[in-house]
């Protein structure tokens, strides 16, 4: 999570974070989301990252795949205070309409004062449920890098499931986009 970048780097340097290789094949995220991947991702784990899982292809602070699995009504979308303690907390509500969910995700990704611009929102079947797909441009405040992103999501039995990927716009986003699209297409909510 880019807003954690400085803390994250320190944690990794200090050896508090772990990186686990995710090999090709099927993986269950949380209790009810299954994804299958082709090629190896790195699963980053460090304190204060929940409830999302963060994966990366190119490495920490370059690209990131955020995976939300089974976020419940009233649950916070990020660790409390993870953007420095002065930012608004964003909470998922199962009554949210799609626009409100996407606005909430925009808010989560702008908590570090990064710029977020939605460029597309359309219906999408995600995990076998009626959901949504969105595209966006993102300027990361901490290092001023311009990113492109794509996200997929659906609400099932009042819980939110979503995959969100962003990467620097010139090389890395075009390189990994197809893989993320394929992953979203094959995702299953059980």
């Amino acid at each position: 999570m880019n807003r954690l970048l400085p803390i994250l780097l320190v944690l990794f340097l200090a050896g508090c974070g772990t990186v686990r290789k995710m090999e090709s094949g099927s993986h269950t995220i949380g209790e009810r989301l299954a994804v299958s991947i082709d090629g190896s991702w790195n699963h980053l784990d460090f304190p204060g990252i929940k409830p999302a899982q963060v994966w990366t292809m190119e490495g920490i602070a370059v690209d990131e795949l955020l995976i939300y699995s089974g976020i419940k009504d009233g649950q916070m979308m990020h660790a409390e205070g993870s953007a420095g303690g002065k930012q608004q907390n964003f909470v998922f509500r199962s009554t949210m309409q799609t626009e409100a969910i996407v606005a909430m995700l925009e808010g989560v990704m702008s908590r570090d004062n990064s710029v977020f611009k939605l460029t597309r929102l359309e219906p999408y079947r995600f995990g076998g449920r009626q959901g949504f797909r969105f595209e966006y441009e993102h300027i990361r405040k901490v290092d001023n890098v311009q990113l492109l992103g794509v996200g997929f999501g659906a609400v099932d039995r009042g819980e939110l499931f979503a995959l969100i990927y962003h990467a620097p716009r010139l090389t890395f986003f075009p390189r990994h986009r197809a893989q993320v699209e394929a992953m979203a297409k094959a995702a299953v909510i059980r």
């Binding site: 002065k86 930012q87 608004q88 009554t95 949210m96 909430m104 710029v115 939605l118």
Partner: protein, 385 residues
């Protein structure tokens, strides 16, 4: 407590005298001559070098606004305030939705868009720029650097980062520290006289603080000092507002520049309001937007965004408030297309399908290439239209 009471009593008794003397003192302010580049081996030289490096990065930053007209407008205001220091002041407008401005000792001045969104007129912007120029003219950041370096905490910072980049680390840490009260009050006084000399109404300086105070108070349970970055490093807003009010009374007259300001920022308001709403600080945003609507600033667009704040806050009654604002925006001449989408979204949620369809259709007519057009089409299909 006792001391504070005595001070308060003194302030009450001598308010007019104080104001006159504060005003008179400010009127006699003589700016120093233009600064030359300090020796690179000195602490001040190190600070400049660091700021030069930051400025180099800033020039390439995608967060810096590329609107030359607006940039020149703000630069011109800074120049009128800084007068002979004008050639040394370089303004950068940075897209960040918080109330903040800063000026580095090398002349780099950053103004964030969250600040621009909060100004009602040119005089208010001049008040903030004048204040920052006041810090610059008195070289407060260099004093702050020396003050902090003399404190023991710095031994730790030095040992953390080693000797390489020591000056840089000190400067970075220093900039995170507050200016002292005296520095702040001095910068306010100098800012006021620069404003007055440049022909601005100094009373607007007090309004900046009053407005911000209202906004922060709207957010329950938070002290002003804990929110906007500018508050973190500045004396309490009520005190500043009151002292600036006294100074203004001694320097009457001047212009506000409502129209000029609004004309120059008009093209950006939509984007800045989007950024503001994304902060999720609904109470603050409502205070800000309602204030700007009250001052007659872009009421159509502002009403739409107030509707967005209500819709996203989603507390009981907010749907109706949102709908009322969307309708208000939709009735304006040249209404924002998104106002009709807002009407559609709320009406769909409330089961008023006819009006929802009407709103969505009008939205797509006005903005056929909208990013969410495909999603809105799916709503229309769902509503059997």
């Amino acid at each position: 407590m006792k001391r504070r009471q005595v001070l308060a009593a003194g302030a009450a008794c001598c308010a007019s005298l104080l104001a006159r003397s504060a005003g008179a003192q400010a009127m006699h302010y003589a700016a120093p001559e233009r600064f030359g580049r300090p020796d690179i081996a000195s602490d001040e030289g190190g600070l400049w070098a660091l700021m030069d490096r930051e400025e180099k990065g800033l020039r390439r930053s995608p967060l810096v606004l590329r609107d030359e007209k607006l940039k020149n407008y703000v630069q011109d205001i800074a120049c009128r305030l800084g007068s002979e220091h004008c050639p040394d002041i370089r303004v950068y407008l940075v897209r960040t939705p918080l109330f903040n401005a800063s000026m580095a000792p090398n002349g780099m001045m950053q103004v964030w868009t969250g600040l621009l969104l909060r100004m009602e007129n040119e005089a208010q912007l001049a008040a903030v720029l004048g204040h920052e120029i006041g810090h610059y003219l008195q070289r407060h950041s260099v004093e702050r650097l020396r003050d902090i370096r003399s404190k023991s905490a710095f031994g730790q910072v030095l040992s953390l980062f080693g000797l390489i980049g020591a000056v840089g680390q000190i400067a970075v840490a220093a900039s995170a520290y507050a200016y002292g009260r005296e520095h702040e009050h001095e910068a306010d006084r100098i800012g006021a006289v620069l404003m007055h000399r440049a022909g601005y109404d100094v009373a607007e300086a007090a309004k900046v603080w009053n407005n911000l105070l209202k906004e922060v108070r709207a957010r329950e349970g938070k002290e002003p000092e804990q929110t906007a970055p500018l508050f973190a490093s500045h004396p309490a807003p009520p005190e500043r507002r009151d002292i600036l009010g006294q100074i203004a009374a001694a320097m009457p007259g001047g212009s506000r520049g409502d129209d000029a300001y609004r004309r120059h920022v008009a093209a950006h308001l939509d984007e800045w309001l989007q950024d503001e709403v994304k902060r999720g600080q609904y109470a603050e945003s409502l205070a800000l937007i309602s204030r700007q609507i009250g001052s007659g600033f872009a009421p159509g667009l502002m009403s739409y965004y107030r509707g967005e704040v209500y819709r996203l806050r989603a507390e009981p009654g907010d749907q109706d408030l949102a709908l009322a604002d969307y309708r208000l925006a939709a009735q304006m001449p040249d209404p924002p297309a998104v106002a009709f989408r807002g009407i559609g979204l709320i009406c769909r949620q409330q089961g008023q399908n006819g009006e929802a369809v009407q709103g969505f259709r009008r939205y797509l007519e006005l903005a056929p290439a909208a990013p969410d057009a495909a999603f809105i089409q799916s709503y229309l299909a769902e509503l059997g239209s």
